[in-house]
């Protein structure tokens, strides 16, 4: 048929790797409470062998950066559907850099207008995922590269 190619084994079948598990913090910043996407991604990454630290709703840029630091995470995934991404994401990136955490890769998911995507990438976001992105696509991306974003 005409389906997306799934190069990643479907959830539940991924091999136990010898490499240490990748640690990713998932957080929602800002006020919006739409957490369907982030919860689905959290489960999907868990089933693909990641260690997912779920920081949950209503996080501030400051609290997110503290979590990334204390959890020694390799990645940070931010979900934001409220339209405030151009205010909040740059702040997170700035604070990460300030904390000496530029080696942490940042991905952003949610409703992000096409025109804002290049701006976010420019700022150092590794990738932006729109709503309904297939989980295998995210897994493949995270496995395919070391976290260090363009910012370093």
């Amino acid at each position: 048929m005409y389906l997306v190619a799934t190069t990643v084994p479907p959830s539940g079948e991924s091999e136990i790797m010898d490499k240490p598990p990748v640690r990713i913090v998932l957080a929602k910043i800002g006020l919006d409470g739409h957490d369907r996407g982030i919860k689905v991604v959290a489960r999907g990454l868990r089933d693909a062998g990641f260690h997912v630290i779920y920081a949950g709703l209503w996080q501030t840029p400051e609290s997110v950066v503290r979590t990334v630091a204390d959890e020694d995470a390799d990645w940070l995934g931010l979900s934001i559907l409220s339209g405030a991404h151009m205010t909040l994401v740059p702040r997170v990136l700035h604070l990460l850099r300030q904390a000496g955490l530029e080696h942490v890769g940042v991905i952003v998911g949610g409703i992000i207008p096409e025109s804002d995507v290049p701006k976010l990438l420019e700022l150092g976001v590794a990738r932006v995922f729109g709503p309904g992105t297939p989980i295998p696509e995210i897994v493949e991306f995270l496995r395919g590269r070391t976290p260090a974003p363009s910012a370093s």
């Binding site: 868990r46 089933d47 260690h51 997912v52 920081a55 949950g56 503290r66 204390d70 020694d72 955490l101």
Partner: protein
């Protein structure tokens, strides 16, 4: 990951009280990497405490255990508030089981432990435990030691207790607190009864819910059975913020007893011996199978088997597995 140069640098940064270095070293310890260096670092720090913690208060290691959903993380969050209010620093190691199939884990405990990002006296680390429900992560003792060496006065472990892990918890924790909650329905399942044996303190949590009285009464009859250790039972509601100060006070009392009381030390040593003995037996590898066969066929006496294992135990260092 972790070449000699890097680990040396990390240790230096740790000694200079660099929080990121602590975080990184915890990761290495949790993966069983660079254990020798980390042990050395911890030992050195014990001999010469880091800046700012000379004459620091006595250290506490508390395990908070109980079935999933009993409110462990919420209570830990409250304890953080109370302890910070009293001026103590707190580190938390929150353990959640990891999938045996994929190695993946969803770690959601810190979500319930609101902390202020500007407060450096609180540290929370989420850990996945490969051993499934009830187990605690390998090298947790070393992670606790790292946190203490860094200066955290309290280290709280959150674990789902209901497996072989509880005795292991006893080795690292001064005080083991078991949470239970009021259950809907009449029949309360005490399949966790075995857990009572390792608990130093039992908390009837969510005491704001109906049925707390009943649970408390049931527990009291259970723990007061003849031959049982006397275990304090407390009622706590994290939602209503009730019973928290009392809980901290009780933990303090038990912790000081656990250091001084000979009987408790004896119990801990007994557990330790038991574990090491079994460990040594398993380390015998192919030799163990021979012992088993010989013993089964009557060629070897009990004493002869014991001697083999004891010899092995004496010759191996505990970290060797």
């Amino acid at each position: 990951m972790g070449n000699r140069q890097e680990i040396r640098e990390l240790c230096q940064r740790f000694a200079a009280h660099d929080r990121q270095a602590l975080s990184r070293l915890l990761t290495l310890a949790s993966r069983g990497e660079q254990l020798e260096e980390i042990r050395h670092l911890v030992g050195a720090a014990r001999a010469a405490p880091l800046d700012g913690q000379r004459g620091s208060p006595s250290r506490r290691v508390v395990a908070i255990t109980g079935s999933p959903g009993v409110g462990k993380s919420t209570l830990v969050g409250r304890l953080i508030e109370v302890l910070r209010h009293q001026g103590s620093s707190v580190a938390v190691l929150a353990c959640d089981p990891q999938s045996p199939l994929t190695g993946g884990a969803l770690l959601g405990d810190r979500f319930r432990m609101p902390s202020r990002p500007e407060d450096p006296q609180v540290f929370i680390r989420s850990l996945a435990t490969p051993g499934g429900r009830g187990a605690i992560p390998e090298h947790i003792d070393l992670m606790v030691a790292l946190l203490q060496a860094f200066g955290f006065a309290w280290v709280i472990l959150e674990t789902v207790g209901a497996g072989q892990g509880e005795t292991a918890v006893r080795h690292v924790a001064d005080v083991v607190v078991l949470l239970v909650q009021p259950e809907a329905g009449d029949d309360i399942q005490w399949e966790k009864a075995g857990l009572f044996e390792v608990a130093d303190l039992i908390v009837v949590h969510k005491a704001d819910l109906p049925g707390a009285d009943k649970v408390e009464a049931q527990i009291r009859t259970l723990v007061n059975l003849p031959g049982c250790r006397e275990v304090p039972v407390l009622r706590v509601s994290s939602h209503q913020k009730e019973g928290l100060e009392e809980l901290v006070k009780q933990i303090e009392i038990l912790a000081s007893q656990s250091r001084t009381s000979a009987s408790s030390a004896k119990a801990r040593l007994r557990d330790l011996l038991r574990e090491r003995f079994v460990q040594a037996f398993e380390q015998l590898g192919g030799q163990a199978e021979e012992l088993v066969r010989g013993w089964e066929e009557g060629r070897l006496s009990d004493e002869e088997v014991f001697a083999e294992v004891i010899e092995r135990m004496a010759s191996s260092s505990p970290s060797a597995n």
